[in-house]
Symmetry: C2
Subunit: 151 residues, 2 copies
């Protein structure tokens, strides 16, 4: 993968839209059995009787799929150097089998690091929408991104 | 799974320690190929040449494993009703193949919901330590938990 995007390309306000990802029931159950085996994620009968009325994806699954959508949309072509963390996640609506999630990334701020001048710190807002254009997840993420080499 | 823990059992300051989870290289690569295919997570050669000096787990993988450790330690026996989100994640140190992660949960606050008096909102601090007792991940999580039924 060729690096196309450096710190200078993350201008505040810049938006990237991702492709969509269809959540199947099988995939929701598989993730949840590995990582989040609460019954509203793994047991269709218990989920039906719960406040959710049926299986919903683990919030960590939703975030992991958002990460993948962002990787494919811009991150794999960016000079990323990892992340110190996330400022906030909001799981606003359930993600159910048959839902398609698509992401939108908006750059909030970008600045050169004070201690490591070869890189900068980019703050972004990731929003995930379902096929009815409802906002289902909001993530305020942070990334280290290399500055564009001179010459 | 029998429900043992209700809102009243989440007293501020209460600590639960989890079991440990060994991260294998195969598992790190598998998660990353699905959800976070940046080369420092998926390509041993590229990872060796990166600032990380070798394969490291995706931060979303680390958080998902923390979720599983918390499920097994107390959540599956709690009257949990899902989560509105997370207040902060800090990925403080890399998690590498061969590392064992264990979690510690501390209740920060617990209060009855103003709008839905059958449940409460619990704020917790999850900390993940490696086999050298270094803090590698910190998550400030939020959960909805049912109040103990009367009688």
């Amino acid at each position: 993968m060729i690096t196309r995007f450096y710190l200078e390309d993350f201008e505040p306000g810049a938006v990237v839209e991702t492709a969509g990802h269809l959540f199947t029931e099988e995939e929701i159950l598989r993730f949840a059995r590995d990582f989040d085996p609460q019954s509203h994620h793994t047991d269709p009968d218990a989920a039906r009787a719960s406040i959710y009325g049926g299986i919903i994806a683990s919030g960590w699954h939703t975030c992991s799929v958002m990460m993948r959508l962002m990787c494919d949309a811009y991150l794999l072509e960016s000079a990323g150097m990892g992340s110190p963390g996330v400022e906030e996640i909001r799981w606003l609506l359930p993600v159910r089998p048959g839902d398609t999630l698509r992401g939108k990334r908006t750059v909030l701020s970008a600045r050169v690091s004070g201690s490591k001048p070869d890189r900068g710190i980019v703050k972004m807002h990731w929003e995930g929408f379902n096929q009815r254009d409802e906002l289902v997840v909001s993530v305020r993420s942070i990334a280290f991104v290399k500055r564009r080499p001179l010459g």
